[in-house]
């Protein structure tokens, strides 16, 4: 039996909770929207927001999902272009939590240890060669971030992988702050910061400066303080300390994650995402669960436990201990961006459940990155980022046949041939 069967046939019960007669939300369409309204007929819809829908229809208008439900219960308006994929699966586009392939290869500005002034959305190359293949692997959104060469590499952007001008594909910029807590950013030139004590000191000082700056502005804006001087270098800290965007932290190993929790979450009160989180970090899961901190694990997926000699799946260990927002990452190009699904497949091989793995490629990542109102599941009102596949994305024998981003078909094996 293939994995597809366990995932699909078990859930044949048709969920009725998707009110198929949902009042069509007339989205205020931009003046020149050349996207035709679409109706996609699908054999099985993995909504990532509840039970799958067998023999369903998805209506798309102005780039958003307009309606979704049983084919028998959705009336397709006559002007809608019908795309028949009734022998296929549909699911939300995959979301990459940690990627460096969204633009030019400028990852690290190495002179200063903290670089909050840097932003990488100036170097976005929409739909570049790597992203074209990523799309064929089902990845429609990536968190494009600076590298971990310094403790604070700069602010990254959340972007779609489809074509368009930078402002069309960027979902949010600043999207996240990138912090690296150990390993790569170690300094050997005599500065403070060759070890973890030093590095944490440096990061803390920088965050404190940023917090003070934002607090002054907050005070000014609610009328309780004078107008502070604008400091372009610290401006991007505003959404961070206002908890509108998270900090994604290159962090792994028990002690380092402990610092992440203590400094970034408890002390600085930031929205924190654990990226990598490998080696023995999973042993801190209780602390993470208590604080509801998401973990985007990988690309290293397993650990041979030194004491027991046992092979441990990193993701399944987190899962077993109860992390609720759990996903995987590729650190592309460390693992090719198009192989994101395979990070989840391997986690399943080590014991993760298939249902949770699907969520860990989609809605869980969206929640971690705080974009779950836009992407990550197929629900009315969300962006129409939809994959059509021959079966479960976790099974390497299946593949993506068509991808929609913002309601536009951007990859179609019938026209483009297979890219992956």
């Amino acid at each position: 039996m293939t994995r597809r069967s366990t995932l699909g046939i078990r859930n044949l019960t048709i969920a009725a909770f998707f009110g198929c007669l949902v009042a069509v939300q007339a989205a205020a369409a931009p003046p020149k929207d050349d996207r035709p309204p679409l109706a996609i007929l699908v054999g099985k819809i993995l909504t990532c927001a509840g039970e799958p829908v067998t023999n369903g229809t998805i209506l798309i208008k102005a780039g958003k999902i307009e309606a979704l439900g049983l084919r028998s219960e959705i009336t397709i308006p006559p002007e809608y272009q019908v795309i028949d994929q009734s022998s296929r699966f549909a699911m939300p586009g995959l979301i990459e939590a940690h990627s460096h392939v969204g633009g030019s290869g400028d990852l690290n500005e190495m002179v200063y240890q903290t670089n909050p002034e840097l932003r990488n959305w100036d170097q976005v190359i929409p739909h570049n060669e790597r992203l074209k293949v990523a799309l064929a692997g089902g990845v429609t959104t990536i968190c494009f971030i600076p590298g971990s060469g310094t403790n604070m590499g700069g602010f990254g952007a959340l972007m779609k992988t489809g074509p368009g001008a930078p402002e069309d594909v960027i979902l949010r910029a600043p999207g996240v702050l990138k912090i690296a807590q150990a390993g790569n950013p170690e300094r050997r030139g005599g500065e403070t910061g060759s070890g973890r004590m030093g590095m944490n000191y440096v990061v803390r000082q920088q965050l404190a400066e940023g917090r003070e700056y934002v607090e002054k502005w907050d005070a000014f804006e609610d009328g309780s303080g004078p107008e502070p001087d604008l400091d372009l270098r610290l401006e991007n800290f505003k959404p961070l300390f206002r908890r509108e965007i998270p900090v994604v932290v290159h962090t792994q190993q028990y002690q380092v994650i402990q610092s992440t929790i203590r400094m970034l979450h408890d002390e600085m009160k930031l929205k924190v995402v654990i990226d990598h989180g490998t080696f023995d970090s999973y042993k801190l899961t209780d602390e993470l669960v208590r604080r509801n901190i998401p973990v985007m694990a990988g690309p290293r997926g397993f650990l041979r436990d030194r004491d027991t000699g046992l092979l441990m799946g990193i993701v399944s260990e987190y899962d077993r201990r109860g992390i609720s927002i759990l996903g995987v990452n590729t650190d592309a190009p460390v693992i090719p961006q198009e192989e994101l699904f395979f990070q989840a497949s391997m986690a399943v091989r080590y014991g993760w459940s298939e249902e949770r793995a699907i969520l860990g490629l989609t809605i869980q990542v969206a929640k971690a990155l705080m974009i779950e109102d836009r992407v990550g599941s197929l629900e009315v009102g969300k962006d129409a980022d939809i994959l059509i596949t021959t079966g479960s994305i976790l099974d390497p024998r299946h593949y993506v046949t068509q991808v929609f981003v913002d309601g536009r078909s951007v990859y179609d094996v019938k026209k483009d041939r297979r890219r992956f």
Partner: protein, 400 residues
Amino acid sequence: MKLAFSIFWGALFAVLAFFWTDSSQARSILYKAAIVHTMTGNPLQPGEVFVQDGKIVAVGKSVVVPSDTKVVDLGDVTLLPGFIDAYSQVGLAGGSDESTREVTPGFSTANVIDWKDVNFREALAEGTTTLAASPGTQNVIAGISCVIKTAGTASMRMIQSDGALLLSLCSDPAQGNRSRSRPDSIYIRQPTNRMGVVWILRSAFDHASRNLPFESGAMIRESLQGKRPVFSVSRTTYDLNSLLALGEEFSFSPVAVGGHEAYKMAPRLSKAKVPVILGPLSTGGGQGPEETEPIWNQAGILSRAGVELALAGGNLLTQARFAHRFGLTRELALKAVTRQPAELLRVADRIGSLAPGLDADLVAFDGDPLEFTTAIRWVMVDGIIYEQQEEGGSNEENDL
């Protein structure tokens, strides 16, 4: 208004030039040619250009001149305005980059011109009579270019010492710097990567536009406000996108230089009204430091989208010829090396077209200027003929 201004200056220069020029040069000559491309309207066929004391006094199908005026009938020759290279590193003595700091807007190339540089001569021989000697791309804000003639007496050659402000919104300034190894080195500084380049520009513009203390802040501020053109060396799509973004953030109107991938976003540049100084074009190998694919018809693609376009970076004549072969119209190919660069450098009241009051900078071609096989008969700067070639394209050794 502009014309009146030009005529005024023309007259003034005519008077001054009377005292300056070598008395052995005939001061008034009427040149008759088969075709005259004035670049202000349709070509004149035939046409006449009346040159007096280094200036153009009259241009037309038939020009009325005093009876004692010397008349030179050039026969089959086609006359064009001298070519203008809006972005060139020719003539910069002792290197084109200042390597101790990243932001050097106050630095001016006007101070370091080697007037005897053989490259002036080479440019002149190919019809380029004016070029903008521009600082290199190792600095984020590199300095001010100057606009100079490729021939003439030193006092006459500098026509604009305060040319354009040059930015390097590209990866180049990050190339020489290192990090971490030796904290005492001057090479340890931002940028070591393109994010740093963008940040240094934003920081400089922010300081300058808010009057905060900053080296040459006033210079930057005035430039952003439009006192002089702002040229930015930007070749890739992301460099050009960043340029548009910075232009919006700090309210200035840039001109993109290099622009090797500009064709990929031609409508966007057109909409933003950002002109492109394209080049150097290439027919083989990668283009520029990024080695981008040398798409042959990038000039034609840009012009079709309505982007104002100049060709630059040396070999202007050959560039114009190939640009036309690959799809740029004849008119725009000629304009891209004459009037357009003059306008972008804001010296169109002196050079770039053939009209009364403008400098007598002319190129005489033995035939169709855009054919590969057509030779240049002579090149004139300020009314003086240089690079005279015999029939059939021979070339005499000729000391300037």
